[in-house]
Subunit: 378 residues, 2 copies
């Protein structure tokens, strides 16, 4: 599943949506606006201060064996059990829960939604633990993944336990929205599973067997769904009705898709010094990312060339081949399409936001977070 | 995780607990009593009729990809998607939910608890899907396991989705006990995970590093916990207070341990024609089952011989070695200990049952189910 937690440290300003419907960048207040990143940074810091104690208390309630793996995964402990500085991530999802609750219900709703925010973060981390096993990813947040340290079995079990903890937090919450929030979060888990299935399934298929609609649907299920759910849960905790919750879900989903599009562009054309990944890593892995699938579907001569290049396995060190592949994606229109699509998704996100929260001042926090996750430097 | 679903078809009458405190085999009514298996069979059939529609509706709500794997796992479909006769198991756990609800709250409580019964069965099947991946078990209910058909990734994802479905069923249930039941079920999932961790961890350790207390605690977490939880959920749905729910949890746990002890005895001395497994399969796998660990801890000469035998890998076809190993376990007292311990656990189960439900007539269904899972032929 896409992870904003480290990428965002290195990147800024990848998608422009000035003039997008519902854009409120000039609205409200004095001092630092939502779009310079300072408001988002402050929101994230406040979220961590509010949610971390709840998250840690939940993890501390685990039996020793599961707690050890969870603590390592969250970056609170080294593999040998000694305390670590902790890089448990930027807490984008819990920040969306709290910002949505605050936008619709003010500080009281934000305070009431802390448990729901922790539940969303637990679900996110359950999926990271399992996805890393399935994808054989060796690193996460600049550290060896849990399965490389504890083995597949323990990483799977710790993920299972975190899902249970997440739903237990909501089950134990006396808030009147807790039941609906738990059902919504469980639904989201099912969607995340289907998204991960589609992703791993697509990677096994030939590039010309994958359609752009499929990749977009997969990105929505894998990345958009939990961001949308986070916003919807915040809305439910603020007492929102089904329409408002659906609009905030749409906002989070569309912002998540915009993020994924920009992330895929950076996966091809990003600066390795900034991204921490080798240039063209996604191309070397023959990943069916959004710009690549868009390029392959373009019917251009460059698409045909790209299909041939993607049909052969990558030969280690062939930087010229990677450069040719990247050029073919660009010439086939994959880069332009992805950037235009990201801008379009952000515009849709803003429309959904305006639908649920007409007051620009109230929507400022959510806007700042959406900007934050799609602001990158390539 | 232990599975009653096929073993019980082949086995009967392994543990005697006549005279056990709280034993009510002579209590109540005319016609077939609880102990001849007919009452249990009727309860299981009625449970399947009540719970199957709820279970199928939950599975049908899954996205295509997840639904396909779940349908196969439940035995409703073949791997190619064509309908199958269906052997989704005996439904012991949902039967315990309904029997506990009926014992404490009558038919209305039983009817109200159907959703909770389906949730327990979904959790059980989520753990089976994951355990089979971890343990590399090739067969389940006489069919290839899901991971052998769909791969590890899809089996893990389908398990994740079933856990989410289980907790969603309770989250959507307007019953006043649903929230507490969901929290209780989530707690149980965490305990099941810790039990599976201990099990896989113990199998990697040397036999003399494993204590009897550890194996008993593992069996309680892996097998007893969900049976106890099933009974506790039924109690909650009948409006029981914490003490009654705890007593029914204890009943289920102790009956689960009795089952596991008998199952382990049969894994060594069972008749292959009846059990469907080769004789001494657990010994060939050097499994640290309860009779083996008890034997190793006995301090007898036979224990020393057993330690030497277990220290060497099994050579395929060495039936003489297996016979010698089984004899050493028996001579070291492992068989007698396991049978006595099973009788003791059943006695404790009866005590807990009498504590929660003093009326023998009302407790009859639970008693019949406990008898059913521990009645086996070796």
């Amino acid at each position: 599943m896409a992870d904003f937690m480290t990428e965002t440290e290195h990147r800024s300003s990848g998608v422009s949506h000035s003039g997008a419907p519902g854009d409120r960048r000039d609205s409200g207040g004095t001092g630092p606006g939502p779009l310079d990143g300072q408001e988002a940074a402050a929101l994230l810091e406040r979220t961590r201060a509010l949610v971390d104690p709840e998250l840690r208390a939940a993890v501390e309630s685990l039996p020793d064996s599961m707690r050890r793996i969870a603590r390592y995964h969250f970056g609170w402990e080294h593999a040998d059990g000694t305390p670590a500085e902790g890089n448990a991530g930027k807490a984008i999802r819990p920040a969306l829960v709290l910002a949505a609750a605050a936008a619709l219900g003010g500080p009281a709703a934000r305070a009431a939604a802390v448990r729901a925010a922790a539940a969303v973060e637990l679900v996110h981390n359950f999926t990271l633990l399992h996805d890393d096993v399935m994808d054989r990813d060796p690193t996460r947040r600049h550290r060896p993944t849990a399965w490389t340290v504890f083995g597949d079995t323990d990483a799977i079990l710790a993920g299972d336990a975190l899902q249970a903890l997440a739903l237990r937090l909501l089950a134990e919450d006396p808030h009147p929205a807790a039941g609906r929030a738990a059902a919504r979060l469980a639904d989201c888990v099912v969607e995340l599973c289907a998204g991960q299935h589609t992703d791993t399934d697509m990677e096994r298929r030939a590039p010309d067997e994958v359609t752009l609609d499929e990749v977009l649907a997969m990105a929505e299920a894998k990345t958009g769904a939990l961001l949308g759910c986070a916003c919807a849960l915040g809305a439910l905790y603020a007492g929102a009705g089904p329409e408002e919750a659906a609009a905030l879900d749409g906002f989070g989903r569309q912002a998540g898709l915009a993020f994924q599009l920009i992330d895929d562009v950076i996966g091809i054309w990003g600066d390795p010094l900034r991204t921490g990944k080798p240039a063209g890593a996604d191309l070397a892995a023959r990943k069916k990312s959004l710009p690549v699938v868009a390029a392959l579907a373009s019917g251009t001569p460059a698409a045909a060339e790209l299909a041939v290049l993607y049909g052969k396995p990558y030969v280690s060190g062939d930087s010229e081949g990677i450069a040719r592949t990247a050029l073919a994606v660009e010439q086939a229109g994959g880069r332009d399409w992805a950037q235009a699509e990201a801008a379009d998704r952000m515009a849709r996100a803003m429309q959904e936001l305006a639908r649920a929260i007409p007051d620009p001042e109230a929507a400022g926090g959510l806007l700042a977070l959406a900007e934050f996750v799609t602001r990158r430097s390539s």
